[in-house]
C-alpha cells in the first residue's frame, strides 16, 4: 500500500465521524447556539513514588519500551518510575457538547519530564445512549486503561505489568463511538474506537499503530463488571539496535548472494531480517476482565493475549487481585503471570563462512536472541500491598513484589545489562502517595 493510500485509510474514519457529527449538528444548530453557556472544570492528579529493586543487572521500569532506566542497576532507589502529575480540563458547552483535555508530565523514553497531551477530544452526546468523541481519546485496552495514570483511582501503585505492558500504547487519534444502555440494576456499554497513534520509545525509537479498530463491551450488574475487548492494528516498531541488526542481516544476505555456494545462507539471512522486522505487520490483541465489589471486598482479574508480530512473540498474561477495605485501610494481594512464546531461533548458520564473518554473524545471532527474549517476557509475580486513604483525595501505598523470571527470560525488566543472568528472581519494594485535586 502506498503512503497516500495509507493516509486516506487512516483519515477515512475521522472523515466519517466528522460527517456524522456535522449532519447531526445541522439539525440541532439553532438550539445548540442558543444554549451555549460553557462551564469549565479543572481536576488534577499525581503520584510521588519511589521504587527499590535488588536486581543490579537490570532495571525495574514501568515499561521496558517507555523508560530507559529505573530502579536496580541504575540506582537502588528510583523516584522516576511512578512519579507523575496530570491536569484535566473539562468544558461543557451545553447539554450535548463537551470537550476534554488531559496533559500528563512523567519521565519519558529520553529521561526528560516532557508534558504530553494524553487526551484532547470533543464529545457529542446524541441522546442518553449514544455519544461520539473525536480527537485524542484513551486506547481502552484493559479495564482500568482510562485511569491507568491516576494512581488514586486504582488499588495498586501501577497496573500489574504482566497484563498492562502487553500494550505500551495508551491513546488513539480518531473517533470513539459509545453506546450505553441503562438497565434496572446495571448498564451495558459497547464501544468502538478507530484511529492511529505514534509513540516515542527508548533508543530514539518509535512505535506506530495505524488503522486501529478496537471493539469493547463492558457489562455492569450490581457489584459486578465484565469486560471483553478485541483490537486490530497495523504496527511499525523501530528501535536503533534492533533496526541495525535487521539491516545487518539484510546486508549480509546481499553480500552472500554473490558468493558461489552461499546462496542458501543468503536466503536464510534475508528471511531472518524480514521475519523479525516490524513494518506494517498486523497485530491482534484480545482481553477480558472481571471485577467484583461485594461489600468491602474487591476481586479483580484480567487476561490478555497479543499475537506474534515480527520480533514480538505471541504473549499472554493474566492477574488476579483480591483486596479488602477496612475503613481507610485496604490490604491487597496480586498474583500475576505472563508467558511469551520465545521462538527457538538458531540464527544464521556460519557453516562455510570465513572466520571473521562467522564471528560477526555469531554476535548478531546472540543479539537477535537477546532481543527476542526481551520482547517475549515470561515471569510470575506475587505482590502484597497496602493502601491507606489518609486524607480525602490522597492515599499512601506500599507494595512488595517478588518476581520469578522464566529460565531464558528477562521478565518485564528493562535496561538489561550484559551481566544479567536470565531466570532469576527480583524483589521490588514500591511506595507512593497518590493524590487528586
Amino acid at each position: 500500500m502506498t503512503t497516500s493510500n495509507q493516509l486516506k485509510a487512516t483519515l477515512r474514519p475521522l472523515f466519517f465521524g466528522t460527517i456524522v457529527t456535522a449532519s447531526c449538528l445541522s439539525g440541532y444548530q439553532a438550539a445548540a447556539l442558543d444554549a451555549i453557556n460553557p462551564t469549565y472544570s479543572f481536576n488534577g492528579f499525581g503520584t510521588l513514588g519511589a521504587v527499590h529493586s535488588d536486581e543490579d543487572q537490570a532495571d525495574f521500569v514501568s515499561s521496558w519500551l517507555l523508560q530507559p532506566n529505573g530502579a536496580g542497576h541504575t540506582s537502588e532507589w528510583h523516584a522516576g518510575v511512578d512519579t507523575k502529575i496530570g491536569g484535566q480540563l473539562d468544558i461543557q458547552f451545553n447539554s450535548a457538547f463537551s470537550a476534554v483535555f488531559q496533559v500528563v508530565v512523567q519521565r519519558q523514553e529520553d529521561n526528560a519530564w516532557t508534558p504530553e497531551v494524553e487526551w484532547a477530544n470533543i464529545k457529542y452526546q446524541f441522546n442518553d445512549e449514544l455519544s461520539l468523541r473525536l480527537g485524542r481519546t484513551v486506547l481502552p485496552t484493559f479495564m482500568v486503561s482510562d485511569t491507568r495514570l491516576v494512581g488514586y483511582a486504582n488499588p495498586w501503585i501501577r497496573g500489574p505489568q504482566e497484563v498492562y505492558q502487553l500494550n505500551p500504547l495508551t491513546n488513539l487519534d480518531g473517533l470513539d463511538l459509545t453506546y450505553n444502555i441503562e438497565l434496572d440494576n446495571g448498564r451495558n456499554t459497547l464501544q468502538l474506537n478507530l484511529g492511529k497513534t505514534t509513540r516515542d520509545i527508548i533508543q530514539n525509537g518509535e512505535i506506530k499503530a495505524r488503522k486501529a479498530i478496537v471493539i469493547s463491551n463492558s457489562f455492569e450488574y450490581d457489584f459486578a463488571t465484565f469486560r471483553v475487548l478485541y483490537l486490530h492494528a497495523k504496527l511499525d516498531l523501530s528501535i536503533k539496535e534492533s533496526d541495525a541488526l535487521f539491516d545487518a542481516y539484510a546486508t549480509i544476505g546481499d553480500g552472500l548472494s554473490i558468493i558461489p555456494g552461499q546462496e542458501n545462507s543468503a536466503a536464510e539471512a534475508k528471511a531472518l531480517s524480514s521475519r523479525y522486522v516490524i513494518e506494517d505487520d498486523s497485530v491482534e490483541l484480545y482481553s477480558a476482565g472481571i471485577k467484583l465489589e461485594p461489600g468491602n471486598w474487591l476481586l479483580m482479574g484480567e487476561w490478555g493475549r497479543v499475537s506474534e508480530t515480527g520480533a514480538l512473540a505471541k504473549v499472554q498474561g493474566g492477574y488476579t487481585t483480591i483486596a479488602y477495605r477496612f475503613s481507610s485501610l485496604m490490604p491487597f494481594l496480586t498474583l500475576a503471570e505472563v508467558n511469551g512464546d520465545t521462538p527457538n531461533e538458531p540464527g544464521l548458520s556460519t557453516t562455510g563462512m570465513p572466520a571473521p564473518l562467522a564471528s560477526t554473524v555469531n554476535d548478531m545471532n546472540q543479539g537477535l536472541n537477546l532481543l527476542l527474549r526481551q520482547a517475549s517476557a515470561a515471569q510470575k509475580s506475587i505482590t502484597a500491598g497496602l493502601r491507606w486513604d489518609f486524607h480525602p483525595g490522597a492515599a499512601l501505598k506500599l507494595q512488595y513484589q517478588h518476581i520469578d523470571m522464566d529460565d531464558i527470560s528477562t521478565g518485564r525488566l528493562g535496561n538489561v545489562q550484559p551481566g544479567f543472568t536470565p531466570g532469576g528472581t527480583a524483589n521490588v519494594f514500591s511506595t507512593a502517595i497518590d493524590f487528586v485535586f
Binding site: R133, T147, A153, E182, R187, S328, P392, V436
Partner: protein, 145 residues
C-alpha cells in the same frame, strides 16, 4: 440487669445502642425535590444512581439533576452512607474514576441546606438532600421506597 452475669446481654444492648445512634444520625437527612416536582418516591438504588452519575433520569423518564452539599458537610456524608453505603473517601474515589475517564463530573455543589433549597425552588429537575429540620414549604420530601 446484671451485665457481669450476662455478657451476651451487654453486647446486645451495646449493639442496639450503636444501631439507634447510627439510625438517628441518618434519619436527620431527607431527600428533597422542588415542591412543584411530580416526583414523590424513589428507591435508595434510584437515588444512589442519580447521585453517582449512573442515571440521568427519574423513573418517569424526566431529567434528574442532583445537587450536592459541599465536601466535609455532615449532611453529605450521612446521605451517601444512607443511600449507597459509601464513605466520603469511597464517594471521592468513585468520582475521581469517573472524572478521569473524561466521561462525567460530580453533581453541582451548594454551600449548605439553604443553598440547596434556593436552587430547588428555581429548578424542577433538581434533587437534593437537606437536614430534616430545614424542610419548609418550598421543598417536598421524597419518600424512600
Amino acid at each position: 440487669m446484671n451485665y457481669k452475669k450476662h455478657p451476651k446481654r451487654m453486647i446486645r444492648a451495646t449493639l442496639l445502642a450503636i444501631c439507634f445512634a447510627v439510625a438517628s444520625a441518618h434519619s436527620d437527612v431527607v431527600v428533597v425535590v422542588s415542591a412543584s416536582s411530580p416526583v414523590t418516591e424513589l428507591s435508595k438504588n434510584q437515588i444512589s444512581k442519580i447521585f453517582l452519575g449512573k442515571s440521568r433520569r427519574f423513573p418517569d423518564g424526566s431529567r434528574a439533576v442532583p445537587l450536592n452539599q459541599s465536601e466535609g458537610n455532615s449532611a453529605r456524608d450521612a446521605f451517601y452512607m444512607q443511600v449507597s453505603g459509601k464513605s466520603p473517601s469511597q464517594v471521592k474515589a468513585h468520582w475521581t474514576k469517573l472524572i478521569f475517564t473524561g466521561r462525567g463530573q460530580p453533581p453541582k455543589e451548594a454551600a449548605n441546606g439553604d443553598a440547596v433549597k434556593d436552587l430547588l425552588a428555581n429548578n424542577g429537575v433538581n434533587i437534593g438532600y437537606i437536614d430534616q429540620a430545614a424542610v419548609d414549604d418550598s421543598v417536598k420530601i421524597v419518600a424512600i421506597k
